[in-house]
Structures are given as C-alpha cells and as structure tokens.
C-alpha cells in the first residue's frame, strides 16, 4: 500500500489533470499516453496474428484504448472524467508496491517494512518509456478493476475507456448526463477503494 504522501501527490496530480491545469505532468502525460497507445497497438496486432482467443479478455483493455485512439477520441485528454490517468496511476502504484515487496523479501526482515516509503514521483515516472511489462499489467489491472463494478457502471467505464464523451454515453444509455458523471465519480471512488484494499 502506498503511503500517505504518495497518495497525496497522486491525488493532486489527478486533480490537476481533472482541472485541466497546465502542469509539467500534463505534457508528460500526453506523451506517455501516446506511447502507451503505440504499445497497445503492437500487442493487439501480435494477438490478432496469433488468433489466440484465450488472451482476448486481457486484451480488451488494449482494444478499448486502440479503438478510442483510432477514432481520435482521446484528443481531449484533459477531459476530467478520463479514466486512463487513474488506471495508469493505480497500475504504477501496484508495480512499485510489488518491487518494494520483493526487496523486502530479499532483505528478509521487517526492518525495511518500517522504513518510510518514498512518494511516487509521478513526473519522474511519466518521463520514462512505458514498458511492455507495465502495459501488460495495466491491461490486467483494468480487467480486475472492471470486475469490481456492477454491470451498469462497467458499461460506462468501458465506453469511457474507449474514449466516448459523457454526452455520447448518456445518449447511448438513454440516461441523464448527470447520471454518467455521477457513475464515473462512483467508478473512480470504487477503484481507489479497491486499490487501497489490495
């Protein structure tokens, strides 16, 4: 589990993204996201060649990503309801926890466990290339988190991950725009919550 200062920085970062504030992270995020889409595309292409059905589930996150990107739906990355930044952050956090956990195992003591954990430096992180491992983890994490949602929320999350605008989703689901917004908020809260529990 990430410590509180890490949480704070991430929350702040997401808040900044949501506000559409011009931060260094914003630019980095856009670059990072482009690369992620590239990576997802490669993966998807490879999978199609193999025509391996069993991987379909894990790949659907990439599909969403590529589908949205292909139609240019992610141009508005500052859309405050974009779920991708949250997913990335949660995945990064998970990856870092894993690394820490392994280190602890190696040192074999509780000593390390009590040592303060460094905050996740999001800007530092985003300035790196997304690795295939991380993108795989992202897809897996995405599926795991989607499962945590009830059917109505899952549908919205999926559409959102494909880059649909809230108004489009509302029209398609024949519900109020506010309902889409409210559920997206609920989705964010749920993911945050489940992530803390893991």
């Amino acid at each position: 589990m990430a410590n509180s200062s890490a949480d704070a920085s991430i929350t702040q970062w997401i808040a900044d993204l949501k506000d559409g504030r011009e931060t260094a992270a914003q630019g980095l995020w856009e670059l990072y996201f482009d690369r992620l889409v590239g990576l997802a595309r490669t993966k998807l292409a490879a999978a199609t060649r193999r025509s391996a059905d069993e991987e379909d589930v894990a790949l659907s996150a990439f599909k969403s990503l590529c589908l949205g990107a292909a139609k240019g739906r992610f141009r508005e990355l500052r859309d405050r309801d974009n779920l991708w930044p949250l997913l990335v952050v949660l995945t990064v956090r998970k990856a870092q926890d894993l690394v820490k956990h392994e280190r602890r195992q190696k040192r074999g003591g509780n000593l390390a466990a009590s040592a303060p954990q460094p905050a996740i430096d999001i800007e530092n992180f985003l300035s790196r290339e997304p690795t295939p491992e991380l993108s795989a983890m992202l897809a897996e994490n995405c599926e795991r988190l989607l499962e945590k949602l009830d059917p109505a929320q899952r549908q919205i999350a999926q559409m959102k991950l494909e880059g649909h605008a809230n108004a489009e989703i509302a029209t398609q689901l024949a519900c109020g725009l506010r309902t889409v917004e409210r559920r997206l908020d609920l989705i964010r809260k749920s993911w945050d919550h489940f992530d803390q529990q893991v």
Binding site: D150, G176, T179, L186, K189, D192
Partner: protein, 778 residues
C-alpha cells in the same frame, strides 16, 4: 445578496467529491430511482428522495437530484426557475445556483439555440454580469488569468460588450468576486486608457447598498481586469422576460432603490448613463443593485463597444439630451432612464417600443409617453415628470424621485424564506409517511442511522450484493407498502449472494418489523421473521448494537416478555451508548410502561443527539400526547411539520391531539390539508383518524360511515386497535371490547399502549378493561 463564500472555503467544490464510497453508492441508487420516476413522469418532489439524509450527504444528494430534474425538465422545455427552488431549499442557495449554472452551461453549448425557453431563464439567474446571456459556454479561463496570483477563476459568467466576465475566488480570502476582463481593443489609445482609469477610479469610491461595488482594477499586460463585487440575483430585464410586468408597488420599490443608489453616485459627482433593466440586479433579498457604474459612463463617452450592442440596446431608455450629446448627460439623464425603466417594469415595455432606431430616438425627443391605463393618476404624474424632455423640468436629484415614489412602494421585505430563522433542529426532511404507526417511526431513524454511522463490517461484498442492499435500504426509507415488499425481496437476494452480510441481515429484520408495526401485514406473519433474522445477526456479531436493537424492537412489539425486551435494549445501549435509535426506541418502551417523565427525558435526549431527525421530533410530540401535555404535543408536531410539510403522520397526530383538546375544527383542517396535498396514498390511517374525530365530537353518523369502510378492510389488515378506539369513542363499549380482544388475538404491536392511550379513558372504569392490562403484565 452578496454571495459570501462558506467559512470552510468550500463554496465551489462539488459536494459529491467529498462523499465516501458507501455514501456515493447509496446516492447512486436513489438517483437511479429518481431518474426512473422522472422518465415515467411519476417522480415525486425532490424532498421525498432526500428523506433521511443530513449534512454533506444531503447537500450532495440534493445537488444530484436537482441536476437530474433540471436536465429532464429542460429536455421537456419546461420552464425552470431558481426562485421556486430557493423557496423550497432556502439553506442551499449555493447548491441551487451551481445546478443552474451547470444547466446553463450544458444547455447552451456554442452554436446552440439560445432562445430555447429554458436557457435564458437559467442564464438570467446565474450570469448576472453577462450582457449577452446566450454566450455562456464552458470555456477554460483565459490564459492571462490562469496563473493570477490572487484569484482563482471558477468559471465564465458571460460575455458583454466590453469583454468577458468571470466568477473568481480570492485565493486567500476565499471571497467570491466577478472579474471583468476588458477587451484590449477598447483601450486602444492612451486617451481611452486614461479616461477609463479616471472613470473606474471614481466608481471605485462608490460604496452603497444599491450599487455593485467595484473593488479594484489592475492591468495584466495590455488587458485590464476589473474586480467587482459578485452579486447573486437576476437582472430586471430577465425578471421581466420571465414574469412579465411587476406589481406596481414592487416596481416602484425597485425604482426607488435604484434612485437611492443614483443619489449616492450623484453626491460623488458621478452619473451612470446607462440605467436600464439589464443593469439593475435584483438580489435574493429583494435589493436592487446598479451594475457597471463607471463603465457605462466610459462607454457612452467614447462610443466604444457599440458593435456589441451596448448602446443600441440602450436607446429605449436614453434621455433626449444624451442622444444628441452624450457629454451633456448628467444625473438628470439617469432620472429619465430610470423613468423609462419604471415604465417598462409596470407596463412590460419601454415608453416607445416600436419603430426603427431613429424613429425611437425621435419619439424620445418629441412624443409624450403613452399613458399607462392601470396607473393611479398621482403615480402617472411622477412617471411623467421623470420622463420630461427638458432636464430642467424633471426631478432634479434622484433623492426627489425616491421621495416621490415612496408612498407607492411596497415595504421592503426580504423574501420570507430568506429571512426565516434557521430552525434549531436542522431539518431532515422525511416525506410521505403514508402510514405510520407509533413505534414504526423509529425505524426511520434506524435506517438513517445505518446510512450515517455504520461502517461495513464485511469490507468486500460483491458489487451486485452491495447494489441490491443499497436499493433495499432506499426503498425501506420510503415507508410505503410496495417498496417495502420490494426491499425484502432484494435483501433476500442480497443474502443469497452474501450470506454473511450483516447489514443486510439487520435490514431484513427491520423490514419485517416495519411491516408489522405499520400494520401492513398481520403480526404473526412478520414479527417471527424479524426475530429470526435479528437472532442470526446477533449470532453473526454479538457486538452489534443494531442487531440487538432490531431484536429488542421485535420482542417489544410482538412478545409479551417485557424483561427480555429490556435486556436487549440494555445490550444495545452497552454496545453503543450514543445510539440515537436506542434512546429513541427505549423512550417508547418507558412510556408504554407508564414512565412518562423518564420517557420524555429519554426522547428529548434522542432528539438532541439526532438533531436533524423529523421523526424524533414528531415522537417527542407523541410522548407528550401520551403524557397528557397536549399543548406541548401540538408545538412538537408543528415543529416537525414545519421541517417537513409532507410528513403525513405528524399531521394525523396533530389532528388527533386537537381532538383531545376539543378543537374539532382544527383537526378537520388538518385532514383537509392532507387531502389537498395529496398525502392520502394509503388512507387507512386517515380514515381511522377522521372516524375517531367524528366519534369524539358528537358526529356518530359520519363516524359509523367511516367505520364500515375500516371494518371491510380489517379482514385482511390488522386494524382492530383503531376500530376499537373508535367504538370506545362512540360509547359502544361492547363492540369496543370485542375489537380490543381481537387486537390481542392478533398480537398487534399496539396492544402495549392500552395502559397509556387516552383514547381508552372512557373504558378505564369498566371492569372488563382490567384483564387487558393484566395480560400485558402492567
């Protein structure tokens, strides 16, 4: 009203963001239901869905419900008016305003038709500083303001001839202000700039309650920013568009206030030069504030901004001398403009509404304004004098106008809602308790207590189970027959998916308690199920106060074992000393035993702790009623009703208390009110209360008519207790005892009230009454 930011500085955060996950999930269920009802056009008032929430949760839920309602109403092209909502939710101004702002933003995307009927109205409420209200758009703040060290831009309010206006918050003071960003081209040359500076400086010295204060101006690069008081209200042009002409006294009052503002400016050597309905803002306190002092003057001097329509729009209010030579226009030109404005407020149009621009200018210069028929002659002569062509023949100072108008003015009063003192007990609105028996009211409190205080003991319930549970809890909170049945179904499903879900188990127990207690189902049907589920809950977690409380309730209502019930209450107390419900319910236990003083003490404590619960307040009244303190009881019921006018049960109890006081007229009034308000969905309680009232007040024929209806219903429903009291009131003791016997046979939860219920006073001397007391172990 000058909108002050909340002391905690959270004026603009969306309350939803602060909700916990659990709370957000519960609200989603309620909103889903509301949306369903909205779609089927069967939605009740928002208050109904707010039932049982308080504090932040209430604010957040109100925000959601309102957003949905506005969205749907707008889609149906219904008119929505902020004022209507302000009357209903006077403590939630900011939330309402935000919802309207959002509606405006959503409904007027760039390129959309701004004449769609809801749009201008919504805008008018929210974008006071906008001149061109159709221009509301979601737009990020201009780059020059993005990093302003002092102000954080919240959103754009509108665009006017001189530039855009933004709502901003001072970063440190958290004061809300309106920022007017003056278009650089307006201040193209040095002369314009220095003149502008002079005007603004002068306007900045004005401080008057009828003038929108300009705080300061500053230059950011080539752009000038004007920081102004942020006023919440509606400009009179929009008010007119919305409501049509104003009543004469109100129109006069508004003009009088504007004149007072003008007088203040005049004494500082300033004239406005663009007085018109658009520039007069009506606040929620019925105060008029003049907008754009200095700016208007600057514009009229330089002729700037005509392209945006500022001058064009003002022709209808322009004094003849101002049209021919702007520089010569002084305060008396403002008086002329104010006259035109008053003319329009009363008649719905300015004095010379038709013709081309030039024709209208000529009319102002040469024609007499057409007489307004409805105007008293004295008032007409005042108006005519304001509209004199020759400035010398007009009132010479605004104060003269104010003085002259005074006799025709409506006395200034804030809207009753705005000035109403906040109730001591902040209202949790509990709407439409169609049928509520005495003890059953407790359940409302229990359910809300879960919502508010319960932390889930089983952290990871599957999303489906969670959803079902949330839906059930909401349906239980409605206190209605069908939703309660649905809730039970859902809870059963929940427990199939998640058998260890303690909250669901307790909710199920209390759902059965509710059915039995409200007299929807026969006690034998439901109370054993309530006990079985409460027992399971206790077994699952012996430390759960609410599990014991559910058990205590069932035993108290159904079983004859007082000691067992008290022991369960005791456990509930031991596990949670501050449990409002435990105190609340225990008060009933005490009063049933005849410990009226202790009971009153206990329930008042519950009322104090559960400060916002209408149900508890109403039950303070019930206990006072049983204690024979009828006047106190009336006061308590009235308090509960004032918090929630749709609280049917409190009205019935109030009526019954009036009957005890011998005030049949007042009692009948309450019944009538209930029917007028449609609070008769499940009207068995109403029939019973009316029958009792008639029986007590010497109208046996009416009483018996209603009795026939009740008896027909009583074969399937547990109405024996009510029927018995009515026969007792009619003096028909034999039949009364027969029905009272049935009450006991049916194990009615009401039988424990025989000792204290004043409706039995007529039978108490009878030998046949005593066995009933003994049976309850009194």
């Amino acid at each position: 009203m000058v909108e002050a930011s909340r002391p905690d500085g959270k004026a603009f955060s969306d309350p939803r963001e602060e909700l916990s996950l659990d709370a957000a999930r519960r609200q989603d269920v309620i909103c889903e239901q509301f949306e369903q009802d909205l779609r089927g056009s069967s939605a009740a008032a928002i208050e109904h869905y707010l039932n049982g929430t308080a504090g932040l949760e209430r604010t957040a839920l109100l925000r959601e419900l309102l957003a949905l309602e506005l969205e749907y109403r707008a889609a149906r092209h219904e008119q929505v008016r902020l004022d209507d909502y302000l009357t209903r939710f006077p403590e939630n101004r900011e939330v309402l305003r935000l919802a309207f702002v959002e509606l405006a933003a959503k409904s007027a995307p760039p390129g959309s038709d701004p004449t769609a009927c809801f749009t201008p109205i919504a805008n008018s409420k929210t974008s006071l500083h906008s001149i061109n209200s159709s221009a509301i758009a979601i737009e990020s703040s201009p780059s020059i303001l993005a990093d302003h060290p002092e102000y954080r831009i919240l959103r754009r309010l509108g665009v006017g001839g001189m530039g855009a206006v933004y709502l901003a918050e001072h970063r440190i003071m958290q004061r809300l202000v309106a920022l007017k960003v003056i278009r650089p081209e307006i201040l193209a040359n040095d002369e314009a700039q220095s003149r502008f500076d002079r005007e603004i400086k002068a306007a900045g010295r004005l401080h008057h309650s009828n003038i929108v204060t300009a705080y300061h101006a500053e230059r950011v690069g080539a752009t000038l920013i004007l920081v102004m008081e942020y006023v919440e209200g509606i400009d009179l042009a929009h008010r007119l568009a919305e409501c049509g002409p104003l009543p004469i006294p109100q129109a006069c009052e508004f003009a009088r206030q504007a004149a007072l503002g003008l007088q203040h400016a005049h004494e500082s050597g300033l004239a406005h030069r663009d007085i018109k309905p658009q520039n007069l803002i009506l606040t929620g306190e019925n105060q008029i504030k003049i907008l754009d002092f200095g700016l208007a003057h600057f514009v009229s001097e330089t002729g700037q901004a005509t392209q945006a329509g500022t001058i064009l729009g003002s022709v209808d209010y322009m004094a003849p001398e101002q049209a021919s030579d702007a520089h010569s226009a002084g305060i008396r030109a403002d008086i002329y403009s104010l006259g035109c404005t008053l003319y329009e407020l009363i008649s719905g149009h300015p004095p010379f509404p038709s013709g081309s621009l030039l024709e209208r200018l000529k009319s102002h210069a040469a024609e007499s304004p057409p007489r307004i028929e409805s105007l008293p002659i004295e008032l007409w002569s005042i108006l005519k004098r304001m509209l004199e062509k020759d400035p010398a023949r007009r009132y010479q100072e605004p104060r003269d106008v104010a003085e002259a108008l005074k006799p025709f003015c409506q006395t200034v009063e804030g809207s009753a809602e705005a000035k109403r003192p906040a109730p001591k007990l902040v209202g949790r609105r509990v709407k439409r308790h169609r049928r509520a028996s005495l003890i059953g009211l407790f359940l409302v409190v229990l359910v809300t207590a879960w919502w508010l205080f319960w932390k889930p003991l089983v952290p990871d319930v599957s999303p489906n189970a969670q959803r079902l549970y949330d839906q059930a809890v909401f349906q239980l909170s409605l206190r209605r027959v069908e939703p309660t049945k649905n809730a039970i179904k859902r809870l059963q499903e929940t427990l199939e998916i998640a058998p260890n879900y303690l909250k669901a188990r307790i909710a199920l127990a209390n759902a059965y308690n509710l059915q039995g207690d409200y007299g929807w189902e026969m006690p034998d049907e439901v109370f054993p199920k309530a006990m079985a589920n409460a027992l399971k809950a206790i077994e699952a977690d012996p430390r759960s106060s609410d599990a014991h409380l559910a058990m205590a309730f069932a035993i108290n209502a159904y079983d004859d074992d007082w000691r067992k019930a008290e022991a369960e209450y005791q456990k509930a107390f031991d596990l949670d000393q501050k449990s409002v419900d435990a105190h609340h319910w225990y008060a009933w236990f005490l009063v049933q035993q005849g410990h009226r003083d202790l009971a009153e003490e206990e329930i008042k404590r519950a009322a104090e702790w559960g400060a916002s619960q209408v149900v508890v307040i109403a039950n303070v009244g019930r206990i006072q009623y049983f204690a024979g303190s009828y006047d106190d009881a009336v006061a308590s019921f009235e308090q509960a009703i004032s918090l929630d006018p749709g609280f049917a049960k409190a009205r019935l109890d109030l009526a019954t208390t009036y009957v005890e006081l011998g005030k049949l007229g007042e009692a009948l009034d309450q019944f009538k009110l209930m029917r007028d308000q449609g609070l008769t969905e499940d009207n068995r309680d109403l029939i019973a209360a009316r029958a009792y009232a008639f029986a007590r007040c010497g109208k046996p024929r009416e009483a018996r008519e209603l009795l026939t209806q009740l008896e027909a219903l009583a074969t399937a429903k547990p109405l024996a207790y009510d029927i018995a009291t009515i026969y007792a009131a009619l003096g028909d003791k034999d039949t009364a005892f027969k029905w009272l016997e049935k009450t006991f046979v049916q194990h009615s939860p009401w039988r424990v009230f025989v000792k204290i219920d004043p409706r039995w006073n007529g039978l108490r001397g009878d030998e046949r009454f005593k066995p009933f007391l003994r049976r309850e172990g009194f």
